[in-house]
Symmetry: C4
Subunit: 213 residues, 4 copies
């Protein structure tokens, strides 16, 4: 069950330094969403109570973090998405602040697409309208940079979304290094296609690894 | 009580690598200041004796570090300040040595203002006159870079000041990355305003997180 | 026996962060190759079962990772090679994505040659033909960058290959720093020769150190 | 006694990642030198046997590392030096390979002089002649970069030399950051003088801190 990955994914993100005081992980459960509460992800333990809210909520219940709107608006648009991670990876923030696009420069970079879309509005996303804007900008992508405020990744499960957050941060570092060197060699379309074809297998192994650490 | 945060804030700064052998944390307590002694902040334990000195001291008592002047001169000018942190964050020193200004390039960067002022004199601040110069340059700001020698952050409590030191170092890293890439996108005035409006809530959560680590 | 270094070399690479979910270590054992299975290298314990396959295999046995072809094709061409490491060192990936060649800028950089060859095809190497292409490009070298997907290092034993992976990653970092600064000073031919003459002794000591950590 | 700091200084360098498989620490003891053996510094324990050799040795005794010549040649020229550290700090190597001079860009950078001299010969220093060349180039300085192979720092005791190695590596990082940003602001002569006047006190506190970790 996808929901069983929520807390392990939260723990993995915290262990990798991709979230600190903030960040959330969620899973789709039928017509509902199960979401971590407004607590540091690294403090969650197996069995802790999570926030549940209906996909078609018109307002957020007590105890739901306001960023829940991001999750709801994405799930509504994307039947293929079973898990979402929201984090503040340091290099992703640096790339956004430096106007450096995150392109796939290495194989794992392809796990978040040829170039990661950017929600180019650095205000906090705390209402439905901004949540919808993020979801629209994400489109059918696998990750989105929220300029000034980290990123969101999606997957078939929360664990796969967490593995994508790891790949996204590695890709942001590679793009910063390339920007600093002044040259870059993005994957060719054929290379990108080969890695994306292998992504389900490789992301699964990456998630199994992250979970076991 | 603000004074109860002095040693936890010192511990948090040490754990985050934002101080090493040097650095201080203080709290305002009525008409007095309570300050960590001239020891590495990471070596302080709950209950350790702190240095107390009156806000209107005309000379420092035995056992007070000379940098106490920085703290006294700031508290005298800033009724809103209840806690001060003094550290040597590595990226802040690198930015200062590289003449890279620390602007708000990401949301948390806004917690230390649109651009962090610099005390442009790298000599040690060990007397009242230099302490006053730092406080004047800080003005109504939340952080100040001491070129060549780290930074000072202020807050309503020592913990909030410590959270700002964490945000400042992250912002320094982002500005170095942008300088290296050769492009930067500071927050717009509206974005800056949105983050500054949310700062009390978010800094409180960041401090709660730092304290719990 | 070279094979006894397989798991210690795998452990050392994991401890140094040069592999994560992926990567392999192998040893030549007579006319066979002993290879780590498709598991994270950091999870292997002394005594764990390894994959054995004949050097002249025409297809891979069950349980052998597809990248075994890289190992087989190198061993067949290189009688001097007794151990091979396959990892995903972060700075090596960054250098490849930034088109920064890895030249010997410091002494230990000489342990992987004056300039490390690049297999300039980022697709996954999962069949015999691509494995042969990697081995051909490696030639009589000691390391090869697989653009987009880490690197391979070789040695007289798996431990020496692991020590070379450490040297390769340090060299990649140095080359990225030089690219960022915009200037570089590669070792002269005489300097390179001096370090390469001392390499057997120094790599042995480096491996002994890595193994003991 | 200065010799009592040899193993604590070795341990501190290892803990800070400024040495790995290689590196040495020595102390002057009357007309002799006490030196760590050819073992990783991090493996030395209190009470381990050290190498002793006379300052006027014309050849090295069994068990003495060949780099002992660096130590002997420096002690002979510098009556003020009571301790020497030899390490391989990563950023120092990167700066040397990038032709980035290490200037004092921040206060602690002044602990190793306005600009650190470079021994511009990357060959291993394993005989008396090269050791003498290093000592000559060091002159009356406090640190010297061995291009391609780390650095040497000196002090009144081994601990002070170790504290200088820490300051040197921080300064190398600052200089790389400045080179990457394309601008730098070295300390003025007055600032440099102020920090150098305070160096004995501050290095003593830095060493006390490093030792206690």
């Amino acid at each position: 069950m996808s929901v069983e990955e929520v807390i392990p994914a939260a723990t993995a993100l915290a262990r990798k330094g991709l979230v600190d005081a903030f960040g959330h992980v969620s899973a789709r459960v039928g017509d509902d969403v199960t979401l971590t509460p407004a607590r540091p992800l690294g403090s969650l333990l197996a069995g802790d109570e999570l926030v549940e809210l209906p996909l078609d909520a018109s307002e957020l219940p007590d105890g739901a973090p306001k960023e829940a709107w991001i999750h709801l608006e994405i799930y509504k648009r994307r039947a293929d998405v079973g898990g979402i991670c929201r984090g503040q990876p340091e290099a992703v923030n640096q790339a956004a602040g430096a106007r450096v696009p995150i392109r796939a420069l290495h194989g794992q970079g392809a796990f978040v697409g040829a170039q990661v879309p950017v929600h180019d509005d650095a205000r906090l996303v705390r209402d439905r309208e901004l949540g919808a804007a993020v979801a629209e900008r994400l489109g059918d992508g696998e990750a989105i940079v929220l300029r000034g405020n980290g990123a969101v990744t999606v997957g078939s499960t929360p664990g796969i979304a967490a593995a994508r957050m790891v790949a996204l941060e590695a890709s942001a570092k590679a793009n910063l290094a390339a920007a600093s060197a002044g040259s870059a060699q993005p994957l060719s379309d054929e290379e990108l296609g080969a890695w994306r074809a292998a992504a389900p297998e490789l992301l699964g192994r990456l998630w199994a690894y992250l979970r076991s650490q």
